[in-house]
């Protein structure tokens, strides 16, 4: 049996909802097929009050092993570093996080808030929120740069707002079946298996990206969402168009731009009016170009792409 504990800090429960919708494997498969013992979870746990405290104390004292510690939401430090704004089982949640992270075999941050601070940590960050081991792009976060779980790994970050259900359960299974050491993490401690390719990989609008045909409205069936509607697919590491949502769709397939939620800067531009779902340009050229492309190259590419574009790229076609 692998003991798993799931706690929530400054969170909206989006990642819990996502987790409960997992299919490959499902949350139930984790228990029945992979021997995962869910000790407690905010939406599933049965213990209350003293019983819950007893369970937590048994874990922090080492009386009961904690194999996987999953955290959703930010570590809330307000007011003034005390963490009193987010009390749980008789003390600030952040104190539980400190103690549980010390005894955990693996510590896993699920979703943007636990990973980088996400929306709660957006300036002016009134809840003094931090991610477990990052604050936006900066490593450190609540647990500090040098934190390692008992298995010797830093926090395993599974970002996303929310994280895709299968990213969550597949990583949990990898850890539970003793393959944790095989996990290779990128510079933001994200499992490379999911976060090496871009959201654009597998996007059905790729041909429109290549031929520079723009979608000008949400839900439009032709056109790429990069040029007008601020799609961050070419700059965002995620497999959203390879591991589909509900097995059949993704934002871009539905005609909705990727917002880059798996990257540390999310939400971009501090949510200033007019900056969301709008491609930011400077003299008509996008400020954020696809990773690895410079302005001069982009202009040349555009001229060639336009000149070579086939007539069908201009038709209103299903791209889903």
């Amino acid at each position: 049996m692998t003991n798993l504990l799931w706690l929530q800090g400054g969170a909206c429960s989006g990642n819990t909802m996502s987790f409960l919708n997992a299919e490959e494997p499902s949350a139930c498969d984790l228990v029945t097929d992979f021997g995962i013992n869910v000790l407690w979870h905010p939406s599933l746990g049965l213990e209350l009050g003293e019983n819950l405290k007893k369970l937590l104390n048994a874990l922090t004292s080492g009386q009961m092993p904690l194999d996987i510690f999953v955290f959703e939401g930010t570590v809330v430090n307000a007011p003034n570093g005390t963490g009193e704004w987010n009390r749980f089982a008789g003390r600030p949640m952040k104190d539980w996080v400190t103690d549980l992270a010390k005894v955990a075999g693996y510590t896993v941050a699920i979703g943007d808030c636990a990973t980088y601070g996400g929306i709660p940590a957006t300036a002016p960050n009134p809840s003094e929120s931090q991610g477990l081991q990052f604050l936006k792009r900066q490593q450190g976060g609540y647990l500090g740069t040098s934190y390692r779980s008992k298995a010797g790994l830093p926090v395993i970050n599974i970002p996303g707002c929310p994280a895709h259900p299968d990213w969550i359960t597949q990583i949990v299974v990898a850890v539970a079946t003793g393959r944790g050491a095989e996990l290779s993490l990128d510079e933001f401690q994200r499992p490379k298996t999911f976060f090496t390719s871009f959201t654009q990989t597998g996007c059905t609008r790729n041909m429109h990206f290549a031929y520079k045909v723009s979608a000008t409205e949400y839900g439009q069936r032709k056109g790429c969402l990069f040029y007008d509607l601020g799609c961050r697919g070419p700059m965002t590491h995620s497999p959203c168009n390879r591991i589909l949502w509900n097995r059949q769709s993704s934002k871009t397939r539905a005609g909705m731009p990727c917002m880059g939620c798996t990257e540390p800067e999310f939400p971009f531009f501090e949510l200033a009016p007019g900056t969301v779902f709008k491609t930011q340009t400077l003299m008509g050229v996008p400020k954020d170009l696809p990773s690895g492309v410079d302005k001069a190259g982009y202009v040349k590419l555009t001229a060639a792409a336009k000149a070579a574009s086939p007539a069908w790229a201009e038709e209103d076609i299903f791209v889903v």
């Binding site: 520079k212 045909v213 723009s214 000008t216 409205e217 040029y227 007008d228 007019g274 900056t275 709008k278 930011q280 340009t281 400077l282 003299m283 008509g284 050229v285 996008p286 982009y298 202009v299 555009t302 001229a303 336009k306 000149a307 574009s309 007539a311 201009e314």
Partner: protein, 103 residues
């Protein structure tokens, strides 16, 4: 349809060739400025071709040191010789330009 477009294209070309003064400057550097021009265009009678050309700053030749032109603009549909920006929706030549140019 094609001949209708041809007629409109010719009408625009003639107006530009006759020296129609259009509002080439200021180029909208920010999204806000871009949106303001779109707003002005939306308030026009859709048939008022001349006003459309003036507000969007049409030219019948490339513009600026980068030689910006419709051909590279993301709203330009090569095969239909058409500007697909909903607020404009007019036939255009690849070597023309307007200040709503974006790449």
């Amino acid at each position: 349809m094609a001949s209708e477009n041809g007629a409109t294209l010719k009408a625009i070309a003639d107006m530009l060739a006759d020296g129609l003064e259009t509002q080439v400057e200021p180029f909208p550097e920010t999204d806000k400025e871009f949106a303001e021009i779109l707003l002005q265009l939306r308030q026009l009678d859709t048939k008022d071709l001349k006003a459309k050309l003036v507000i969007s700053g049409f030219l019948d030749h490339p513009y600026g040191p980068d030689r910006q032109r419709c051909l590279e603009c993301m709203y330009y549909l090569v095969h239909r010789k058409w500007c697909d920006l909903p607020e404009l929706s007019v036939p255009v030549e690849p070597d023309w330009w307007c200040r709503l140019w974006r790449i």
